[in-house]
Symmetry: C2
Subunit: 139 residues, 2 copies
DNA sequence: GTTAGTGCAAACCATTTGCAGAACG
DNA sequence: CGTTCTGCAAATGGTTTGCACTAAC
């Protein structure tokens, strides 16, 4: 934990207490640079804070996502992954090799407005996952 | 099973054998008019064909999806659901009450082309799920 | 008759729950 | 000190696997 990022203010701003478990989890997600499953978060965060347990990871991820510090993305194969709620982007996953690319949110804005006026729903600008074949797998 | 739809040709066309289990599963998905989880498929199809078992349902759904007779949709909360691959549409789910609306695929075409040229990926026109608040939950 | 498909039983693994104790503010 | 948070232990439930048997072709 040579990293000096301080998550305490963001936690307190949401009325959440600051605990080493939460710091470890946020730290791991920050340095992963992407989305991680609860199990992955558990395995990595445990190295920083060995007494961490799985139920705590699940509860923490859920709490942080509810308070918008994290994004919960529903990725293929029926698993949920989490990532820091910093950049607004979506994922494009190759259904053959699993490679993932991030795409910007901006092109979706128009679409969102169309859907909102046609359905009456108010759309989350949250995570959407698209599937396809990456360049390497298009042989 | 007063329904007379015959799924045999579609199965044979994909090199799959025609079995009562597969007919029951396809029949259930057809009459559900929407997407069902493997467990839901199991419970309903079992009423038509009581000796059906869960492993068979899982294997069948997977096989049929691979042969494009079904669509596997990755819906919220990390579960996979299946539906007949007939209409080309997507889902919009209320993250509060769970209500679901179908939206057309057409508005996504432009977006898909943008993503394809910017990433080199070839997109599946398969299922995408959006999240939001339905009109009733926007109080 | 051959191969694909199924049933059974069991294992597997991610996720959830209740409750008592610890830690934050 | 009060309340939130965590750890522990166990249960839960959906999903997967191996193998022998059945049924489709």
């Amino acid at each position: 934990m040579t990293c000096s990022i301080n998550y305490a203010p963001r936690l307190r701003a949401q009325g959440l207490r600051v605990t080493p478990q939460r710091n470890a989890i946020l730290h791991v997600l920050h340095h992963s640079g992407g989305h991680l499953s609860p199990t992955q978060v558990y395995e990595r965060a445990r190295q920083e804070f060995p007494s961490l347990t799985e139920p705590t990871v699940y509860r923490t991820l859920e709490d942080l996502a509810e308070k918008k510090l994290l994004l919960a993305a529903h990725v293929g194969n029926g698993k949920i992954v989490y990532e820091l709620a910093e950049t607004q982007h979506h994922h494009l996953i190759c259904h053959k090799c699993g490679n993932t690319v991030e795409v910007d949110h901006a092109p979706l804005e128009l679409l969102y407005h169309q859907f909102e006026s046609s359905t009456g729903y108010k759309l989350d600008s949250s995570h959407v996952t698209f599937f396809g074949l990456c360049p390497d797998c298009q042989s």
